[in-house]
Every structure is written in C-alpha cells, then in structure tokens.
C-alpha cells in the first residue's frame, strides 16, 4: 500500500471517530486501506491493512485489563469435501468423506497476543474465534462428534499447508493505547470472491465491541476478459484455443524445418 493511501485511510478513520457518538463505554471504529484486490497477469498475492481505533467515553474509568483485538478474515464460502484414505486389502483408497457445506477456503485469525492469553476456550467457542471455531457452521453444535472433528483437523492442516488458513499471534499491533493496525496477507492462491472481516475488542477476556467490514478479490484487465470469454462464449473460446494450438504447431515446424 502506498503511503498516500495509508494516510487517507487514517484520515477517514479520524473523521469517522469524530462523527460517531459512542453509546457504550467502548466502541470500535475500523477502516481498511482498500476494499478491492485486483488480479492482473503479474499478480502474486497482495496485502491489505486494517486500521482501527478504540473509542472510550470520557467518563469511563480506565480499565485494569489491557485491550485485546482479534481480527478474523473469512474467504468465500464453498462446499468443501474432505476424504480420508483407508486401507482395504493391500491398497489404500478413499472410503469415508465429510461435507463442510459452508466452508471457508480462506481463513485468517490475527490477534495482538496468543488467543489462549486473551480469552478462555469457552468464550472462544461461543464467539467463534480461532480456526476450528470460525470454520464451524453457524447452526452446528459446539462439540463436534469424534469423526467430524478428525476430518476438520485434516481440513485445517491441509489448507494451512497451502497458506490459505493461518493464525497470526502477533498479527495486530497497537500503535498507541487505542490505535491499532493489522496487515492482512492475501496469498495468490486465495480464490476470487468476497471476504468478510470481523474485528472484536476484548478486555479481561470479555468482548466489549465489534465491527465488521469486507473486501473483494476480483480479476481485472486481460485475466477478467479471458475468464468471462471462457464462460460466456465457450464455443468460440474453444475454437480459438484449438486454432492457436494448431497454428503454433505449424509455426514450429516451419521455424525448425531443415530438410
């Protein structure tokens, strides 16, 4: 992000802070450096920054506990199918599978210190904080059955290896007592679509205020034109591909012809 955009975002934040009259003792105001990531042919991932400020009403007495911020970024939702290979005779084949109907392909949980220091496990489960809890469907029970839990573990492990799931224990930085920023790294393999960001303020393990925002990842330029041509004009697209293939093949035989 350019310095100009950073300053603009901070200014917007400051303005928003003045305009809002806090109802509760603490409120949270957040802004993003950008709401759109554009994919071009040299795209190798991108970075956004979430800025936020904790607004405290003047009369509120200072708390003994420090403020904690947890930022959760959820990528596009899709049906995720997880399969497990099991031994059958001498060979290994996929036998059981579990569906995660509302699974996020991208998940990032960033906080200013390890989650276990910020809140208890019960709070994390109720507030859907952390990779396991954020991945759990909204209407699912708190405790998963043993098999589903095992499959979920596998899912998180695989997507973490691909860089799509991550936990950043030091991903949120307090610039002052109330001003914080959190960089969000979007890897190139993260899918296109809309991403939700939930920012929650904690103190002493209790959620005090929350704020939501979002951004989207879209293809632009050449990538966008090619992708929409493939979907909207499939027959010409296929014919052009074959023609290009045959042409290149012919060209090579002309270029390399010796006899």
């Amino acid at each position: 992000m350019s310095p100009a955009a950073r300053i603009a975002a901070l200014l917007a934040l400051a303005l928003a802070a003045f305009a809002t009259a806090p109802l509760r003792a603490e409120s949270l105001i957040a802004a993003m450096s950008s709401h759109q990531i554009q994919i071009t042919s040299n795209y190798t991932g991108s970075q956004l920054t979430v800025f936020g400020v904790v607004e405290r009403e003047g009369r509120t007495a200072a708390r003994g506990d420090p403020y904690d911020i947890v930022v959760t970024v959820r990528g596009p939702r899709q049906m995720l199918l997880v399969r497990e290979k099991e031994r059958m005779g001498p060979i290994w084949i996929n036998r059981t599978q579990r569906r995660f109907p509302e699974g996020s392909i991208f998940l990032l949980v960033a906080s200013n210190r390890p989650l276990s220091e910020i809140m208890t496990e019960d709070v994390a489960r109720r507030e859907r904080i952390g990779l396991e809890n954020a991945q759990r469907p909204k209407d699912a029970p708190f405790a998963l059955d043993a098999t589903t839990a095992r499959f979920q573990e596998g899912l998180i492990r695989i997507l973490s290896e691909k860089g799509l799931y991550s936990t950043e224990d030091r991903g949120v930085t307090f610039l002052s007592g109330t001003l914080f920023s959190a960089p969000i790294n979007v890897p190139a393999t993260a899918p296109t679509g809309s991403y939700d960001i939930d920012i929650v303020l904690y103190a002493g393990g209790v959620p005090l205020a929350r704020q939501s925002t979002n951004f989207e990842v879209v293809k632009s330029g050449m990538e966008q034109r090619l992708a929409s041509a493939a979907h909207e004009l499939p027959l010409p697209y296929g014919l052009v591909t074959v023609l290009v293939a045959l042409l290149l093949g012919w060209l090579a035989s002309v270029v390399f012809r010796r006899d």
Binding site: G45, I91, T189, G238
Partner: protein
C-alpha cells in the same frame, strides 16, 4: 518469473512450465505419444485443478502433435487411410468411454478406477514391451538378426478376417475389423483416463500389425491430433476449464521440445526405441502403484466443489 493463470486461478512460474512442457514435448516427438499421461499428473502436482489440467493438456497435445504430423507427412510416413479408420473408431470408443466415466462417477469410485487402470494398463503394456525389447537386444548381442522377419504368406489370424483393405504406406494388407476394434478400445480408454491413447496405439500397431515404426508414429500422431482437438472444444463447451494462458505456455515449450524429439528419433535404432518407451511406460505405472500401495503421509484430501459465483 510468475504469471497468473485466469482459469486455474493461481500464479505459476513461467520457467517451470516451459521446462516441463519442453521435456514432455521431447518425449512426445521421440515416441509419437501425446505425452498427456505425463503432463497431466505433473500439472496436478503443481496445484493446478485436475479439471483444468486435463482440459488444457488436451489443447497442448493437439498443438505439439501438429508439428509431429507435419514432419512425418513430409517424410511420407503418415498413412491417412489407416488414420481415418483409427479416428472414426476412436469417436465411437470415446462416446462409450464418456458414458462409462459418468456412471462410475455416480457410483463414487472414479478415482480408484482411474488409478487401478493406470497401474494395470501401464504395468502390463510396459512389462510386455520391456520383455520384448530386452529379448531383441540380446539377439543383437548374439549376432542374430534383431527381429524375426515377416515371412511371405504368414500372418496372424486377425489380419485375415473379412473386409480386407490395402494400406500401401503401412505395407499392410489387413482386415478393417481388428483395426477399428483397436480404435474403439483406445477411444474408450482415452475418454476414461483423459489421455490420447498413443502409448497404447503405438505398441499395438507395431506388435499386432507389424507396421513400420516411422509410419506408426506419424499415424498415431495424426489420430491424437484429431481426437485432442475435439476434446479441447468439448471441455471448453461443457466445463469451461481450458486455460488459454497455460495452454500457450505449454505449447511454447511443447512444440520446441517435440522438434528436438522428432530429430532424435531418427538417430535412434528400433531396439533402443522400444526399450526406452517400455521403461517410460513402466515407470509411470510404478508411480501410480506407489500411490495405491504405500500408506499415505496425509490420509485426508480436500475437494473444492464448484459453486455458482
């Protein structure tokens, strides 16, 4: 240097793709096989979605076989009559194969069917070819003629079936029935496994019909060119998974590699040609066997099912 693939939706190193496709193109030009059975698994290994890999490789194979077809055409090592019969039989086989493919997918064991067929098919074909090639090499060592010459008046029974046809380019006078039958089988296997079938066609034409190797390679490439062009259009129509950017990169490496492969083939004697092709096919079979028999390090796998965007 990285470039973003619009359909596969991920960036990829240009040099890696060029290197891979160049190497596979070399093998393709050398043996007259499409190379799809090598390239598709390699692309999937690079994290490209399987559907995109299969569809895009079809376009690449069509392009790189064009170069080969033109080269063999100029050397008069292409039997159009034989090629025509192979193509028409192949279409029937492809249709049957697609029907079988869809019914296996409904039963939910498609992946197993594919892996098992790769293992059995490649091990059997590769093994037979290796046995034969080694025997031929040992005969050469012993100072005997490398191959038992075809004697006048003797030929296998299947060549004497009705509807005989003369194939002057292939030095063949043979019934159409076994040739069309072979084409149907290859079309079927090709549709189920997502490969062109050259690796089956080439040995079959050499061993069962005793057609000269050069003509076999040229004609097989012609059959591959036609089927893979059709497959590319079908993939573009049915699941929009052809990545033009990836196809261009693969083509660039592939056609250049195929040129060198085609040239190297001329300096290779028949015995080494067979031995190398046998080893190549066997090693691919072995690779799939390992996947099947060795306990997996990561038992879980995640499938992203397409949802409307």
């Amino acid at each position: 240097m990285q470039i973003y693939l619009p359909i596969a939706e991920l960036p990829i190193s240009i040099l890696t793709v060029l290197g891979l496709s160049g190497a596979v193109g070399f093998i393709s030009g050398l043996f007259g096989v499409g190379g799809g059975f090598l390239l598709t698994p390699l692309l999937i290994f690079l994290d490209i979605p399987p559907a995109v890999a299969v569809a895009t490789v079809a376009a690449q194979v069509a392009g790189s076989s064009t170069t080969g077809v033109l080269t063999y055409w100029r050397r008069r090592a292409l039997d159009l009559r034989l090629g025509g019969i192979l193509v028409s039989g192949g279409i029937v086989g492809t249709l049957l194969g697609v029907l079988f493919f869809n019914s296996m997918r409904r039963l939910g064991q498609l992946e197993l069917v594919i892996t098992l067929s790769y293992v059995t098919l490649f091990s059997i074909i590769g093994g037979l070819m290796l046995y034969d090639a080694v025997r031929a090499l040992m005969r050469v060592r012993a100072g005997k003629p490398a191959r038992l010459r075809r004697r006048a008046g003797t030929h296998p029974w299947w060549m004497g079936l009705p509807w005989r046809m003369r194939f002057p380019h292939s030095q063949l006078y043979c019934s159409v029935i076994p040739i069309a039958g072979l084409a149907v089988v290859i079309g079927f296997i090709g549709a189920v496994l997502g490969v062109g079938g050259g690796f089956i066609l080439v040995p079959a034409l050499i061993y069962f019909f005793r057609i000269p190797t050069a003509v076999v390679v040229g004609t097989s490439l012609f059959q591959i060119l036609v089927t893979m062009s059709g497959a590319t259009i079908l993939h573009a129509l049915t699941n929009q998974s052809v990545d033009l950017v990836l196809a261009l990169l693969l083509l660039l490496g592939g056609v250049i590699g195929a040129q060198f492969g085609g040239r190297a083939a001329r300096n290779l004697n028949v015995e080494s040609f067979r031995l190398l092709l046998a080893l190549l096919i066997l090693s691919v079979g072995l690779r799939f066997a390992i996947e099947l028999f060795i306990p997996p390090g990561e038992p879980f796998s995640v499938v992203l099912t397409e949802s409307p965007r």
